[in-house]
Amino acid sequence: MKISVTVDGERLGAVAGQTVAGLLMSRGRVSWRTTSRTGRPRGLFCGIGVCFDCLVTVNGLSDVRACQRRVADGDVVETGAVDER
């Protein structure tokens, strides 16, 4: 089922059942957060919810693991935005 999700203000088509990390990576993003100490970019690392590197904000709630959370229609996802672009 096709759904629609807003990521950093941009409306994206997504597939129900995708995780936030799956959606971001299928769009070629590799980093979406910076570390608090040195501002280094981070994205997915462990992929199973144990490392907490991939955190995003979903519908205003921060610290959501992108690899664990499935997108729902109308979700608003905010990242820490870094990427190579």
Binding site: A21, G22, M25, S31, T35, F45, G47, V50, F52, L61
Partner: protein, 464 residues
Amino acid sequence: MSVDVLVIGAGPAGLAAARAARRAGARVVLLDSSDVLGGQFWRQPLAGGSDADIRALQHKWDRFVALRRVLTDDPDCEIVTGAQVWAVDRRDDAPPVVHALVGPADGGDRRRRVFVPRALVLATGAHERTLPFPGWDLPGVYTAGAAQAMAKGEGVAVGKRVLVAGTGPFLLPVAASLLHVGATVVGVVEASSWRRIARGWVPRPHELRPKDLMSKSAELGGYVRALAARRVPYRTGAAVLAAHGDSRVTAVTVARIADDWTPRQGTEQRVEADAVCVSHGFVPRTEIAISAGCALAADGSVRVDEEQRTSVPGVYAAGEITGIGGADLALAEGEAAGRAAAGRAGGAAEVARHRAFADRMHSAHGIRPGWKAWVGDDTIVCRCEEVTAGQLRTVLAATETRGLRSLKLSSRAGLGICQGRICGRNVEDLLPDAPLDPGRTANRPIVVPVRLGEIAAPPVEREV
């Protein structure tokens, strides 16, 4: 509903335990934080997968489908997915009270459920261990399991030109899955030498049942053929010593290493890649077991007897948390644990049979100490708090501590949001002497970070 047997974890071990307990007549509740059943081994897209994908990416799939059907069709087995167990409270001479939050991962308004089971089976599996190396915090460096999870669960390749490295048979299915989802695998780099692999796997073949040997070698052979067909180079006795790039990986350095994994000077080669997937084995997810009071074995796994009993009355453990051994062993242990938790005996022989494979895997692929030579002073060890190996050594020298707890407080290594899961074992190994309190880094009374608002609310139900 009364809960005779509560099972935490719906991977191969937990599914087998739930079914065995049901067969023995117990009422079962099966919890998993994921919203699909199957654990790591049978990870699949939520919406299901195409036949071709399943055939290419899954093993023993029919077995899973059968297990899932039996359990989902059974009114006396309640399956609760999206159920994150976040704490357990000990009781005297009985399994602990189990606290879960049910709803979307890390969501703010999940439902609280509390279970007071008569018997508890812990089947929480393992997460990967990755040894640190310069640049391993760059985006584009993943655990091999992350690549596998993205391929199996999302149909996504983590990179276009991908190197798979580390040690163990797990590197092979990961490389094969990457090929299936369209990546170019530029190589598989195994740290163990052929000599060590042969010494680990080949001796005393008569101790293995031909049927098991055939089944294992058929699975591994399938991967090897997939790699060969695409001309993926497979190297042994080598390791990734560094990842390079500015804001993401663009290349890695691969070098030959000695039998003890010390890098061989002058053998470094640069390999262009946009992703590198690294696995050095697995670490049992023991925090619930530790909170419940279960004794650990020397290697940090949960200690069990031949019927999967832990040291706590009424608490059983099965699968990777009792020692890393793969899905077949997890299934056999789950079966034995489920039966025992429901008050029946048997199943130990199957377990012993699969343990033989696990022992061989460890002697062929266990981590060797030479890896510390590729960790420089400015290599990050704790990714959360960004503590380098140099900082760790400075704190060690200044405080002369061998206690992990004090080292953690003074260096901040392991104090971050992952609760020391990623760096814990590595920090323990980097200490010059054995730590005073081994296993200490796995002690996490709050199993995962939770939101105060969610746990302040009274539980919806208390299920006895």
